[in-house]
Each structure stands twice: as structure tokens, then as C-alpha cells.
């Protein structure tokens, strides 16, 4: 029983990272109609930046907070750059070209990471304050993973408020439905695009920064997470915010539970779940595109 609870909690903490990634991916798709294949690479960039900031600022609690604020900001800035310099030129091109472009960006970023930080991975310690385990009576659970759950839930709330309750958010929602109309209404849709892309990429960078103390940073860390990210978004529904949350948690919990029951089948079950969802509800559980 305790084992199941721990695995559930573990699954949720894993899922939260996927949720963060998926939200980023889904709002970019919803708004810009771009499937961002560089999403994994910017996750890696966020992770490595967090490592570097942490090292530069010395490894204490304050520097951890600084690095998880600075890394996503820098990553978002990188995203804005990519959008303005590259993606904007392709916005009238077919889907395939945009995909190819983001894929190319992903490769470039990956190689840049290897050039700057080397091919061997980097490690980051969890800050002392979060490095303990909490005793829940039946089981103990690492504090850092609890922190992940709480912190990311907070971020999701903030994003939700941003999208549902602010005027900027209403522009995003409107642009997701009909971008030309928004343009006709006199709103500079291109600036919004840049902003949304930067936001999506920034979220990926944050996910990367948060995952480094747990798993370390490797140059190819973006690859595995990208695949899972797509699975999450497909399950949850492309373009759906709540779908991203649902899909992310589902994938995280399935992964965790499978590791308990049948470890070699972890990946298989996730993909099987995705296949099932596509068969039953092609648009994803909560999707509308």
C-alpha cells in the first residue's frame, strides 16, 4: 500500500515536469500552429543555463532560486530571438517546413551545448533546504519532488490566470481560434506570436532548470523528453491547456506505476496509452484541433 502511494506521488512529481513542457508546446501550437521540435533542445538549454548560473552564483539556496528565475528568462529570450529571426519568415510556408526549421534549430542548440559545456554531463546538487526527505508515516518521500509538485502547480495557476483572466490572455485565446480576425482588429499579432513562443520556450527552460538537480544535465536530455512531450500533448489534446495538465499527470503516473509492476514495459505502456487515446478520441482527451 505504501509502495503504491509513493509511486503515485512520484508519478505526479514526474508528471509535473511533463505538464510544464506540454503547456509550453501546446500554447505554441495553439497560437502559432507550429509543432516546435526544438522544445526538447530548449529544455536542455534551460537545464544547462541553470547549472551555469548556479555555479556562477555559488551553490547556496539563493543561487538556486536565482538560477530557476534567470534560466527560463534567458531561454525565453532565446525563444523570442528564434521566433523573430527564423520562424516569422516561415509563417506562410507549409507545416512541413516549419517542422524542419525547428528540428534544425534543435540540432544546432544541441551541438552548441556540447561545444560550450562539453559532451560529458553536468551535475547540480539539490540545495540543502530541499535535499531532505519527509516522513509521511507510511513512507518517506524526497523533499525536492514535493517542492516540484507545489511549485509547478503554482506556475500552472499563474499561467491559467494569465490566459483566462488577463486581456493579453484573451488575445491569445482569440488568436488560437482565428488569428486573421485578431489581426484585423488592429492588434499586432506578430508581437503576440513572439510573446507566446517566448513563453512556451521559457516554460520548457524552466522545466529543464528544475529537472537538473534531480537528473543532472546531459547534452541529449532534450531527446527523450521531447518524445514524451509529444505523447502528452497528443493524449491531452493539441492546443488544450487543461489537456496538457491531464496528459502530463497521466503519463507521469503511468510511467511510475509501470516501473513498479513491469519496468521493461514502461515506455511501451505509455505509447500504448497514446495509441488507445488516438483510436478512441483522435483529438486527444480534451483537444479541439
Amino acid at each position: 500500500m505504501a509502495l503504491l502511494l509513493v509511486q503515485l506521488l512520484n508519478g505526479i512529481s514526474l508528471g509535473m515536469i511533463y505538464v510544464l513542457m506540454a503547456i509550453g508546446l501546446t500554447i505554441v501550437f495553439g497560437m502559432l500552429n507550429i509543432i516546435n521540435f526544438a522544445h526538447g533542445a530548449v529544455y536542455a538549454v534551460g537545464g544547462y543555463l541553470a547549472f551555469s548560473f548556479s555555479v556562477m552564483l555559488g551553490q547556496w539556496m539563493g543561487s538556486f532560486w536565482m538560477s530557476i528565475i534567470l534560466a527560463p528568462i534567458f531561454t525565453a529570450f532565446l525563444g523570442a530571438l528564434i521566433e523573430v529571426a527564423l520562424l516569422r519568415r516561415m509563417q506562410n510556408a507549409e507545416h512541413e517546413y516549419q517542422i524542419l526549421l525547428t528540428f534544425g534549430v534543435a540540432l544546432i542548440l544541441q551541438e552548441l551545448i556540447i561545444m560550450i559545456w562539453g559532451a560529458i554531463g553536468k551535475s547540480l546538487s539539490i540545495p540543502k533546504e530541499l535535499a531532505g526527505v519527509t516522513d509521511f508515516g507510511l513512507f518517506t518521500f524526497p523533499d525536492y519532488r514535493i517542492f516540484l509538485i507545489v511549485f509547478i502547480a503554482l506556475i500552472c495557476l499563474i499561467i491559467w490566470v494569465l490566459i483566462e483572466k488577463t486581456s493579453y490572455g484573451s488575445i491569445i485565446r482569440a488568436g488560437t481560434e482565428n488569428r486573421n480576425m485578431v489581426n484585423c482588429l488592429g492588434i499586432d499579432i506578430y508581437k503576440v506570436f513572439t510573446g507566446v513562443f517566448a513563453l512556451g520556450v521559457g516554460l520548457a527552460g524552466l522545466a529543464g532548470a528544475l529537472s537538473v538537480p534531480m537528473r543532472g544535465a546531459q547534452p541529449l536530455m532534450g531527446d527523450t523528453i521531447l518524445t514524451l512531450c509529444f505523447v502528452v500533448v497528443v493524449i491531452g489534446g493539441m492546443g488544450s491547456f487543461t489537456g496538457a495538465i491531464l496528459g502530463g499527470l497521466l503519463v507521469g503516473v503511468v510511467e511510475s506505476m509501470m516501473a513498479l509492476v513491469w519496468p521493461p514495459g514502461t515506455m511501451v505502456s505509455i505509447f500504448a496509452a497514446m495509441a488507445l487515446v488516438i483510436l478512441v478520441r483522435p483529438k486527444g482527451l480534451l483537444g479541439f484541433k
Binding site: 554531463g121 551535475s123 531532505g132 537528473r215 543532472g216 510511467e255
Partner: protein, 404 residues
Amino acid sequence: MEEEKMDRMIQGLRRIVLALAGVILLVLPVMAADTVGVSVIAPLSGTYAAVGEEDIRGTKLAIDEKGKLLGKAIEMVAIDDGNQPAVGARKVREAIESKGVKFFQGAVSSSVGLAIGQVASEKQAIYITSVGADEITGKNCNRYTFRWSVPTYGAVQETLVPLIKKFPEAKRWYTITPDYVFGHSLLNNAKDVFKKYGLEHVGNDMHPMGATEFSSFYTKALASKADFVVFFNFGKDTINALKQADNFGLKKKAKLLVPWSSGTMDLIEIGPDIAEGIYFGSQFWHDVDVPLTQALNKAYMARYKDPINYPAAACYIMTKMIIMAIEKAKTFDPPAVAKVLETMEWDGLTGKEFMQAFDHQTDKKYYLLLAKGKKDIKGPGDLATIISSGKSFKPQSESECKMQ
């Protein structure tokens, strides 16, 4: 008229170019006649990529140290096996057939080592390896394959047994195994040891190579109240596993052992906070009182700042063994070099080492180390203390090797 002239000119040019190409192709192999190729086979991508990079460093050190061999310059031929047996075997075959390379060493993954051993035997090329699976010098032994590193049998004996003796109250052992030849090899050897000493093997988890989530294993290990958790993985897998073990506070409830580690590489990457108190087994340690090791460590540190690790040291000594054998045999002919290798003795990295003729396994020491915490570290290389070292090899009577 003009067109005809142009056509003829083009025809003439084509003939000249083809002729030149033919001449160059003929000359090319001849141009390489004053170099001898020594190949290093290493994974340059994937889970063991960092190890691959170290393999190349070690090989370079040995080649640069030697300079010329029997009048020829030594050329390092790097082969990226990508950790895939089929890829490695194919590339080795290509190197033998099209480049005429006859001396190979390396491979990190046991499955790759086994595949290349087969190619070496078939093509009569020398291959020295450091992979772990017992079969390389067991039932898959052959005339042209040799091993420097201690196989999994010895690694398990030299790490588990001293700890069992040191902690007689530790009765419950949990194991975490990467799901391929190397992992199974370590696990099976460990199971024999558990049985022999009457210990309880309270659980085992198999994970795919390159796994990033080990959390569920630790919850199970903690629930099973294991005294020792043994990690049979290597490279990046070990790094991830230990980091997460630290996250889950595993060290507070159990002792951790990594029977086959890459030594300083692992310790430097996970850092002393995580490493403190963990037991590591290693084929090599840079700080032992052996002249060759001290010299090698100095040379490596001069180039790369950190103390030398096991993968680089292994490729260094294996390249050196090839060079020494060629020098002794006074020829580049593989059958003659193989004959010299199989009875060779040399000053190795763990003291005096020699090759066992019956199975082509090097007789050498294996070390058990205890990693130090930050407060005990006195200098850049001072990362662990040697708890014990020794030699454990199956006697000839128990060997499955039938050398033809």
C-alpha cells in the same frame, strides 16, 4: 564543328581525370605503408559517450609516448561503435579489409566486445578488450582476443566478499541491474556469492540501459529493508542511479556498492557530497604506489587537469600491450604477435601483470574503494581510500575456454 571539338575536349579531359583517379587509388594504400594503424573502438555517442572520449585520450597517450614502432609511425584509427555490436563489428571488418588495420583494442559494452572478438578471430586481427562479460575469456575465447580488465567474476569477488567479511551483520542485499549481457554477468556472479555466504537476495530490478528514472527501485529497496544496495550499472546509468539514490535518502538506510565503476570519472561527476560513504570497485586507481601508474597519472594531468580514470588508463595499457608485443615479436604479423601476447609479462598499472595463456586473461589486481566526503579530501585526486585489493580468477580447471 565547334560542338564536335568541345565534345572531344571533354572526352579527353574525362580520360585524363579517370586515369589520374586510377593512379591515386593505386598509390594511396602504398602511401600508408610507413604507418601502422592501431585502432581504438569506443562509443562516441549515447550512454557511454563520456567513457568513449576517455578511451581516446588513453590511446593517444600511449601512442604519443611511443612515437615510432619498428620504424613506422603509429596512426590511431578511432572507430565509433555507438554501443551497437553490429555497427562495431561492421566497422572493424571495414577497417581490416579496406585499410589493412590489424590491431584493435577497446569497446565498452560487453555485447560489442563479444562481436568484435568474433571478427578478430575470423580475420586474424589482434583484439584486446576491457569489457566485463566472463564469456570473452570463457566459452567465447579465441586465439586473437585478449582481455586486460578483470572479468565480472573477479570484480564481484573482490568487492562483495571483502564487504561481506567487513559487515557480517549485513544479511539483506538488493541489486539493481542494467538489462544486458554485462549486467546479467555481474548479477549471476553476485547470486553465486550470496548463495555461498548464505545471504538473502531481497530483490532485483532490471532497467534498460540509459534509464533516467530509478526512483521506484529505491522505494522498493527501502521497503525491503536491505542492508546493502548493489548497482551493477556503468557510466551514465551509475551517475543517474546514485544521484537519485541520494535524493531518496537511500544512504541513510543502506550501504551502497558499485562493483564496476569508472573510478574518478564517476566520483568527479557526482561530487563528494553524493559520493561520500559509497563503496566502489575499480580496475584501476590513479593513486597506487606503482611506478607506471604514477607516471601515467602525471602525463594525463598535464594534459587534462583531472587525475586519470579507469577508461583512459585501460586504453592506455591495452595500446601499450599491443606496442610491447609487436616490439617483442619484431614483426607486425598478427599470428606472431598473438603468440608473444599470450605469454607476455609486463610492468602494468596494478603492479606486475601477466597474460594467462590458457584463456588470454590478464592476471591483475582489482580494487575496492570507499569514497571520501568533502571534509576528508586533501587534494584534487584524493577522492577515495583503498579498502582492499586482490586477485580473483577462476582456476583453469573451471574455465569454459577451449582455445583452438
